[in-house]
């Protein structure tokens, strides 16, 4: 009974994609649209296989991953420290958060022309843009997490005579962890989204975004779609991994609290 319900829901969720693919194939075979604009599903799969069996494509993927991860790590480390800093000290918050919030109103994409003028067309501005995209969510969520630590915990810590460092590592950080984890997941999504903007607007020869761009220049929709599928699945895989880690860390925290 339970299984059949589950099969039904799985069938329900694959129904639409299957229908769409059949429709897609039909439109293609009927020849309504030129194949450069809309390649057949078969063509896309063929392009996909060809690309994934050649080394060059994996080189592009690895380069993009390197790019996004370096930006992401710079962004989350600095964002975490900043969020912790303005979260712990009310004075620091009053000094820095008005300026932070003012700068935050400018979308990161808007910075691209200025950053390119300052640093030229190379890897550095790309990583800066990705890092900035990761910085905001992690800073805001760390700040929120630190500020929402229940008062009783802090009072309890002072009863136990914890010093400041112990208070931060034993009380504040563990209790802010879920919020920080949310920040990290959001930051990863933002970095990944910004990677595409960085590769499109700050031209480079290497990267998945570049491959998609080349597909456009060559009027090769199959190549573009392969790029999009790659980008989408990699983004999904990375977000899932981070979510699993965050969940595990959170579980560990709860277990330790119970002990």
């Amino acid at each position: 009974m339970n299984i059949s319900k589950r099969t039904k829901s799985v069938l329900g969720s694959i129904l639409l994609p299957v229908v769409l693919i059949i429709l897609w194939q039909y439109i293609f075979s009927a020849g309504y649209i030129a194949s450069a604009i809309l390649p057949s599903p078969h063509q896309v799969i063929k392009t996909f296989i060809i690309h994934f069996t050649e080394n060059e494509y994996s080189f592009h993927i690895i380069s993009s991953l390197k790019r996004v991860l370096s930006g992401f790590f710079i962004g989350i480390v600095s964002g975490f420290l900043f969020g912790l800093f303005i979260g712990l000290s009310r004075t620091a918050e009053k000094i820095f958060s008005p300026s932070f919030n003012a700068v935050r109103q400018i979308s990161i994409i808007g910075w691209i022309p200025l950053i390119v003028m300052w640093f030229g067309v190379n890897e550095f501005p790309r990583i800066i843009i990705i890092a900035a995209a990761a910085f905001y969510p992690i800073a805001l969520n760390t700040f929120a997490g630190v500020r929402n630590v229940p008062r009783e915990y802090v009072e309890l810590a002072s009863v136990y005579g914890y010093n400041r460092l112990k208070l931060i590592t034993r009380i504040i950080l563990p209790s802010a962890l879920p919020s920080i984890a949310t920040g990290i997941t959001l930051a990863l999504g933002m970095s990944w989204a910004m990677l595409m903007a960085a590769e499109l607007f700050i031209p480079t020869n290497i990267g998945i975004g570049t491959r998609i761009q080349i597909g456009r220049e060559k009027f090769n929709m199959a190549l573009i779609l392969v790029g999009i599928i790659t980008v989408g699945s990699l983004g999904f895989a990375m977000t899932s991994i981070v979510e699993i880690i965050a969940h595990a860390a959170d579980r560990g925290r709860i277990l330790r609290k119970e002990i």
Binding site: I95, S107, I109, I212
Partner: protein
Amino acid sequence: MIKKIFKRLGLKDKLLGLIVPFLLLIIWQGAVTKHLFSELLVVPPLTLLNTLIELAKSGDLSSNILASLNRVLIGFLIGASGGFILGIAMGLSPIINRTLSPLVKALQQVPEFAWMPVIILLFGIDEFAKNIFIAIGAFYPMLFNTYLGVSGVPDKYHELAQVYQYKSHRYLAKVILPSALPSIITGIRLSLGLSWVFVVGAEFFGTEAGVGFMMISGRQLFQIDVVMAGLVVIGTIGFLLNYVLQLLEKKLSGGRVAFDGGIA
């Protein structure tokens, strides 16, 4: 007496907030007077102000802002109404939800800018392509927040509506929409915010007007003051859009504003 102290405290906080901008301004001006950087890369703060005033006087600024806002509005209306309708359908019907949500989730994994080459190939690089690009960005937050609002309508309301034998359109208008309204407003705010973010990106791809165009042509002509003026405009308008809708959201949901985690 106590009130006075509070007032003074409030003022003190504001003054503290001015320290960083003030220091930055001093460093900025200092760097300019000491010629630490090329004049092409760093213009004096006053030049930036002058450029802003001149752009505003000549009407360039307002015409570019209007062009961008016009794009935002069209893209937002297309994307947000799509998201709104789909969100209601998915919130009301579990079957539609089950059928569509895997597809939506899969498509949502694709970063917005990866769609740009597809859109350009399909529709060219004209106005319509930009509207579609913005619409895609506006679609998701509206869809998710409408869905959250509609699927979160308490079962009690549904039962009550059945007792009163409400017809479906009446049920929608009198029960579902009012109850989902705060969430829908959140959706509008986030989706309008993203539209404003993406319009600048869309304009980087080539156009004859708009704030993004102003910045790109400023970059090509090496007018860094124009590029910086563009940043000021982007920030100000983004802030105003968010601020007005946040006021509305607060009013409708009794002082609560959804935390976007810094994504919009």
